[in-house]
């Protein structure tokens, strides 16, 4: 029985793409529900200025509660040194630093070139090391498979940046199809090349389901030995600077995929579907995604029987 890790990023990637500000009490119920359903890595928010993303202004509060949940890796997105200071201050377990492989997306998203972001990552590593913090630093290589603004993103540029952030001292790196341009062949090729550069420091895939290929892309990475994937409850998600990039992989669908294959994720899918139903009420009127919720688990077959 092999295992996989689903990183729930709905509270960050999901909610940042939805205009409404979900009340903190609903977010905390979501966080607790996700933990109770067995998710053990949750990205609870971003340390981005509240004027840019008011939806995530209560990130510190969420971290404080997340840290009390047994066995949970509490992750926050951090766009710059200032955000890293806060992540260290609140004692997050992991900070996810986005780095756009697309020059145009990098400027739109962070107002910095990719190389300027690499330099900032080096400063964040220094800060973390000098502060004595044990917060892990992971770089998410966004727009690694293409960009809605720039179009094509060269694999060579992605690989150069993977190398650069590891040299800058990042602990881990993941590849992200931020805009839903990837297909399984692209995923196989790029992950294979990036694994040669990063080895087991490359340990996350972030796929959107914008055009239906999310789980097929996940499988392509899984087949190369990647075992950790971002996903959002109800398949929400997007990027404020990637128009039309809707829909992460739905956590519940990914959990079913793995359960069916006999791969342990620790997730109680029925509990996750119940949480999805609750989130659907909180997000009433928003477009949700995912497929499993409609049919539910197979009624005449237990996942274990399929393993």
């Amino acid at each position: 029985m092999s295992s996989a890790i689903l990183r729930e990023v709905g509270l960050r990637d999901g909610l940042q793409s939805i205009a409404r500000v979900l009340p903190t009490e609903h977010k905390l119920a979501w966080l607790r529900g996700a933990h109770a359903a067995g998710l053990r890595e949750i990205e609870v928010g971003s340390f981005v200025p509240a004027r840019l993303l008011p939806q995530l202004a209560d990130t510190a509060e969420l971290v404080a509660v997340a840290r009390t949940l047994p066995g949970l890796v509490t992750s926050v997105l951090v766009p710059n040194l200032k955000g890293a200071e806060r992540a260290i201050e609140v004692q997050a377990d992991l900070m996810l630093l986005p780095l756009s492989a697309s020059h145009a997306h990098s400027l739109a998203n962070l107002r910095k070139t990719p190389d300027e972001v690499v330099a900032e990552i080096a400063r964040i590593v220094d800060l973390r090391n000098s502060s004595g913090s044990r917060c892990r630093i992971e770089v998410g290589l966004s727009t690694a498979f293409g960009c809605t603004i720039q179009g094509e993103v060269k694999p060579a540029e992605v690989l150069r940046l993977v190398q650069a952030v590891l040299e800058a001292g990042a602990d881990h790196v993941g590849l992200a199809d931020t805009v839903g341009y990837a297909d399984p062949l692209m995923v196989s090729r790029l992950f294979e090349q990036a694994l040669r550069v990063a080895g087991d420091k490359l340990n996350c895939g972030h796929f959107h389901d914008t055009r239906g290929l999310g789980l097929a892309n996940l499988m392509a990475a899984w087949n190369l030995g990647i075992t950790r994937f971002d996903a959002c409850l109800a398949g929400i998600g997007g990027c404020p600077h990637a128009p039309g990039a809707s829909g992460n992989i739905a956590t519940e669908d990914a959990a079913w995929l793995f359960a069916s294959m006999g791969v342990s994720t620790g997730v109680d899918i029925d509990a996750l579907l119940a949480l999805r139903a609750q989130a659907a009420q909180w997000l009433d009127g928003e477009t949700l995604h995912g497929t499993l919720w409609r049919a539910g688990l197979p009624k005449t077959l237990r996942a274990e029987a399929l393993a």
Copy 2:
């Protein structure tokens, strides 16, 4: 540049699962639109008694028009000898004979045991051969990955039936996840075993997207060399005797998957999306599926650039 065949089965598998009877003129527009969009194999209906499936009562009319469309393989589903007589009479190019690997589903769907169906298939082969018809005979092994009624279906039983129908004289065989129970690992294992039995006579995969795994399952079969897949425009579809088995793979999503990977299907995706929009009007009020239609094709990247 490799190629794949998408068999559009919406007019049969899709419409049989929808209670309303779509007027023949709309079906003909759908048929012509699918052909104009580049689809070259279309299952236009079933030769099932009209009292059982009034939605498909005009199948002969559709075959007549389909036969005038250049380069089109006209397929019909045929449940028994009587249906086969009609398929031969109207000169369909291909008859698809369903054979449930699940004993319980076979009884519910055709009121025959699987072995009785195999015997009927042998009679159909004899009829075809003695009539001088050139209609190809393909057996679709349904519920090959599990059954909503019976639960588990043993791979050994599937393989036994594959062997039996080839011995009975079927030209080709495909494996169908009629109820959406398959996952990529099951698909890899069963197709691998069945290919050892059937060789290149196994040349079709039929996957439902009931729980979101449709395209991941398709990729698992594609990775083993299977290049022909059933799909329904707008991801409609189901089985009258498989409750909750909603949603075939959406043709437009599968077409995008292949286009993105540089695999030729001959399909003009924009034309297919326009047809989907039209079908959505005809089927107003029905639950449609699929993902690509929402975002459309990538605006800043041509599929060819991804190959």
